[in-house]
């Protein structure tokens, strides 16, 4: 028998397939000899829905895919850790251009070091600092990528130093 998770996921994917078919139909299918923009997406949506149905039918017929289900959240604190990490990187993305690479990366690293598997404050600060410097050297200096400056303006620092 199918377990509840696979059942639900198959249903969700099947619905996505149907939505894709509907959207493709709106975009325009065209004809077989002159396919429109919706032609191929329609086929894909159809394929997705059919596959989900096949999966569900297989499950109903008794072809179970897993023996015993491990618990979804292995450890008590894992939900919290994942949530913290997710929240942290979302915030990072939001403030990245405003705070700039250096400040944001420093903050993110510090936060992660303290929350996922706590590190002492002193080591956390040092590590965050070094990783930020390494990141800067790697991306901005070595690769000449374009990183936002934000709060820490390298241009001014180098003018100030030299």
């Amino acid at each position: 028998m199918l377990n509840i998770r696979e059942f639900l996921s198959a249903i969700v994917l099947g619905i996505i397939g149907i939505i894709l078919c509907i959207g493709a139909y709106h975009v325009g299918l065209g004809s077989l000899t002159n396919p429109g923009n919706g032609f191929v997406p329609f086929l894909i949506g159809g394929a997705l829905t059919v596959l989900c149905l096949v999966f569900l039918i297989q499950g109903v017929q008794g072809r179970a895919s897993l023996k015993e289900l491990p618990p979804f959240w292995p450890e008590k604190k894992s939900k919290l850790r994942v949530a913290h990490t997710l929240g942290a990187i979302l915030v990072y993305t939001l403030v990245f251009e405003w705070m700039g690479f250096a400040a944001a990366t420093f903050g993110l690293f510090l936060f992660l070091l303290k929350t996922i598997d706590p590190v002492k404050w002193r080591s956390a600060f040092l590590l965050s600092f070094f990783v930020t410097i390494i990141g800067f050297l790697l991306f901005q200096v070595f690769l000449k990528a374009q990183l936002p400056e934000g709060w820490v303006s390298w241009w001014r620092i180098s003018r100030w130093i030299f």
Binding site: A102, R122, F125, L126, F129, Q146, W151, V152, S153, W154, W155, R156, I157, W160, I161
Partner: protein
């Protein structure tokens, strides 16, 4: 705390203060320019615009006194970068490179775009342009444009041509030509100049409409022939091929390389930018590169550029209306 720990903390403190010293404090801004200028290119790093504007920016830096930092912001065929500069502060620290391309002059007549080419920008300078052309293989039976149109008239829809992308300047050159000559061709869209050239060389299509710089190495190598290209008059860069104009078709579709600042940028700032880039442009080494890349020099100063942009914008508007060119939905 041990001595060692204290030292470490002290060092961190010092470094921290140094960093803070770098944090931007708003001071009275005296002369322009006093910090780096951001030059935005709406195409991915390493592309043809980069090859043109990066050396130019390096040269301009020397004359401007501050770094001219090229930022690549690809997206929507150059449109999202254009929009970004249109909305930027008109203080001369954000400028748009590759101004005068299809997305600024031609596309707005076909689709709504989130900026107004004439109202949102002050052209600073025009540097060069390149046309698109109709190319066939060198073993093709058509040696002139007339032979090509004759055949196409007698066999509507039979001639297939590849092009870099639907609604691109290059593609629409071909469409304009079709309508003017009263012929019907089958366009095969591809994902760029090189795939389109591949298709021609691989004998999958009979002809190709390509941006001239992309195709020129093959012309020089003798693999393909150019039947016509879209400049108002012949350029010494593209020797041996006629223009659409001399064959009787007023097709002046060309992609320009220019620079623009957001509307409202002070005139002195624009003048400083113009002068710096003019000097950079006149550099012999840069001129040499330009020509080798297949771009045709077309220098226009600030006033001339503004007039030119207005003219071309009008031209494209007129011609799309007259020929009924639209983007088919």
């Amino acid at each position: 705390m041990t001595f060692k720990t204290k030292t470490i903390c002290f060092i961190i403190l010092i470094v921290g203060i140094t960093l803070c010293g770098g944090i931007r404090l708003t001071l009275a801004t005296p002369d322009y320019p006093e910090k780096p200028v951001n030059a935005i290119i709406g195409y991915a790093a390493g592309g043809a615009p980069d090859l043109f504007f990066r050396p130019l920016a390096d040269l301009a830096q020397k004359h401007l006194g501050v770094p001219v930092v090229i930022l690549n912001k690809p997206g929507g065929g150059g449109i999202s970068a254009t929009q970004e500069v249109a909305k930027a502060k008109p203080d001369g620290y954000t400028i748009l490179m590759n101004f005068g391309g299809g997305e600024h002059l031609l596309y707005p007549h076909l689709e709504k775009v989130p900026f107004d080419t004439l109202k949102d920008f002050e052209p600073v300078i025009m540097l060069s342009y390149y046309p698109s052309g109709l190319f066939v293989r060198e073993d093709s039976p058509w040696k002139t444009l007339e032979e090509f149109t004759d055949y196409a008239k007698k066999n509507p829809g039979a001639v297939r041509y590849s092009h870099p992308g639907t609604a691109s300047m290059v593609h629409l050159t071909a469409v304009a030509f079709e309508k003017m000559a009263g012929i019907s061709l089958q366009g095969i869209p591809t994902g760029g100049g090189s795939p389109a050239m591949n298709m021609l060389l691989g004998r999958h299509v009979e002809a190709a409409q390509l941006g001239v710089p992309v195709a020129w190495p093959q012309v020089q190598g003798g693999q393909v022939r150019c039947l016509a290209y879209s400049l108002p008059k012949r350029s010494e860069i593209y020797s041996g091929a006629p223009t659409y104009a001399e064959k009787g078709y007023d097709i002046r579709f060309a992609v320009n390389q220019g620079i623009a600042a957001p509307q409202g940028t002070p005139k002195e700032v624009i003048k400083k930018l113009h002068d710096a880039f003019t000097l950079a442009y006149k550099d012999k080494g840069f001129q040499g590169t330009l020509v080798k890349m297949g771009f045709s020099p077309n220098y226009l100063n600030t006033e001339e550029s503004t007039k030119y942009i207005k003219e071309m914008y009008q031209y494209y508007g007129d011609i799309t209306k007259k020929l009924g060119i639209t983007i088919k939905q």
